[in-house]
Symmetry: C2
């Protein structure tokens, strides 16, 4: 079986590595000749919308998928005409535009932060009035990890926000004074069966995921059900197949959807060691029509992103339960170069191992001050 993946980042790499034991060969399409995924499997080096590259990409392919959602839609449709593509192209189309994503969620009755489209300076004024301040002005297209965002705390900031971002279509989203950020990784198979990993807690200081705690501490079964209901609505609406990630804000005991990602997700990396079947393997199983594996957790886990520089990462393997994943990427400020998953049978053991790890990690890597599983 051959799976084509749009994008050659670390998500593609981990998909490719999960494929080999299943007898699945992944083929990457990515313009960068030294992509992370291309180091571990076949890569077509070419632009996503280059017809020659696409022709080579789909040759002999059983199914195509994505490891990032900003693939040119024309390329996705062109592949979808000749090969199965999962998740469905419609999912990618919706999430590429923050406005259509929010409208899609709203139409399904899924709670989101108040939002309004901003196409002009005048519309920004109206949006600020309707949504309220503080709010976040975001580019509708191609933003991630806090890029293309501007926080409007007061009305005086509208001019700065507009002059910074006003040249592209925008959306204004109310700032939700949330208690914490959670996410749900789900996997839907071709028969409509859906499996859920437990909700996890994510920490994004400086707008980039620094660590994930799995399972999210102090999560009631009703909160998990609330999250799963959101997921089911989205999956049914899109006839979704594959892994779907949903980011939530927890606010006054309820969940608000922040955004969705039609792919494997950074907040699911802990599943490699912390769950019976990883998100990567389950995504491949689902899109290939194979039975989806158990999503049950094994103990608890803390996933720590290694961003910017690595120091001597292999030293950290001395901590029991520490698993290292390097992506083969050159160090650069703000770049995700790898992650460590710290596993333990129970929260107390995880806390103790975190203290061991803290002594070895350089100060540049941000860690939770403590783990409170409540």
């Amino acid at each position: 079986m051959v799976v084509g993946i749009f994008g050659g980042g670390q998500l593609g790499r981990m998909l490719a590595l999960a494929g080999y034991p299943l007898g699945v060969r992944c083929r990457i399409l990515d313009p960068s000749p030294d992509s992370s995924a291309g180091q571990v499997t076949e890569q077509i080096i070419g632009a996503y919308d280059d017809p020659n590259a696409l022709a080579r990409f789909i040759d002999g392919l059983d199914v195509a998928t994505y490891e990032f959602e900003h693939v040119p839609l024309g390329a996705v449709h062109s592949v979808a005409e000749r090969r199965a593509v999962f998740p469905p192209a419609r999912a990618v189309e919706i999430v590429q535009d923050r406005l259509s994503q929010k409208a899609f969620l709203q139409n399904l009755g899924i709670p989101t932060a108040p939002f309004a489209p901003v196409g002009s300076r005048a519309e920004l004024e109206q949006a600020a009035a309707s949504v309220g301040l503080p709010a976040v002005l975001k580019t509708r297209f191609a933003g991630y990890d806090g890029k293309g965002q501007f926080i409007l705390r007061k009305a005086e900031a509208l001019d700065s926000g507009w002059s910074l971002l006003g040249q592209t279509p925008l959306i204004l989203e109310a700032s939700v004074p949330f208690q914490r950020e959670l996410s749900l990784i789900t996997v839907a198979d071709k028969g409509g069966k859906v499996a859920f990993y437990p909700l996890v807690e994510n920490h994004h200081p400086e707008h980039i995921l620094k660590w994930t705690i799995a399972p999210a501490p102090a999560c009631s079964p009703s909160l998990q059900s609330e999250a799963e209901e959101c997921a089911l609505k989205i999956i049914h609406a899109l006839r979704y197949v594959g892994v779907l990630a949903i980011e939530f804000f927890q606010y006054e005991g309820r969940l608000i959807v922040n955004e969705i990602a039609p792919r494997v997700h950074n907040s699911g990396h802990w599943t490699l060691e912390g769950a019976d079947t990883s998100q990567f393997e389950n995504h491949l199983r689902a899109i290939l029509g194979l039975p989806v594996g158990s999503t049950a957790m094994r103990g608890c886990a803390l996933m720590i992103n290694l961003i910017g520089d690595l120091d001597d990462a292999t030293r950290w393997l001395a901590v029991p339960g520490a698993h290292l994943h390097l992506y083969g990427k050159k160090p650069r400020q703000g770049r995700k170069l790898g992650h460590v998953t710290l596993c333990a049978e129970h929260p107390k053991m995880l806390g103790a191992r975190l203290e061991e790890l803290r002594r070895l990690l350089p100060a540049s890597i941000q860690l939770p001050e403590r783990l409170d599983f409540g």
Copy 2:
């Protein structure tokens, strides 16, 4: 870090896959252009003793290792002159000759079955008298999975045994009426620290490993200690670094060493999902001087070899806890094509999952009739 591996079979493949997350790139040396490992990483296609192939093999290498022990010794020594090689060449040298292996164990005071060298028809007569019948006549060199073996039940069979195998140096080993076969996978780091996985129980109907139960049922702590003491003697005698596998017969409550393998081992495949750190990752960690990871088990596991043909292996993924590992090899009678590891939190759950799996597997795959954890 670049690790060179002599041999491109499934063991090399699983080593290479374990390397990527650690930032380790493996390079295979194997004469076969469609080797199992060569499908997942760089391969030098060439004979093990071809100087040109060896020169390309060692270029930029940090350390070399083996995935099978019948590498030509000259090749190992030639690499060892220019690069670190672990496990030490001496270990390979000893195990290549069943006679030197048995003598080595005997000198360390490790119990083995009675044995005697056989270099002539007359020596066979003497050996049968000293060792006793029934006994197994084996080629001293290059035998595995029951190949090059002849069972002598009665004195009348000596002629047949001699005419079948007499053209090569032989060893006669007493047949031990053992209760069961066990094995121990250990890993020794460069600092002399040794970690042990639990003893597992192996089943070899028709002289080829069909399944492994981990941990071995009804194993006393003293049996585990006995096995670990044997391992430590071998490791210290050889200044051993890396994974070492020891196969035992359990006979009248004690352990007798059947043979040792200076490499990762089929009876350790369950560690991929069933232990905190797999034998493959730990072998790489050890030979690269990285900290060795926890060898603690997670629940219990049953590893089933897929031999000869695969049927539709992916169907079996429907059983919770079933993990599939295919080796990318063409089906052929008696060939190991992959394995399934069935994991569960406790023996009862494992037994129930085995019954589910039994209903899906073709009759050609041998399974335990039941799992009795005592």
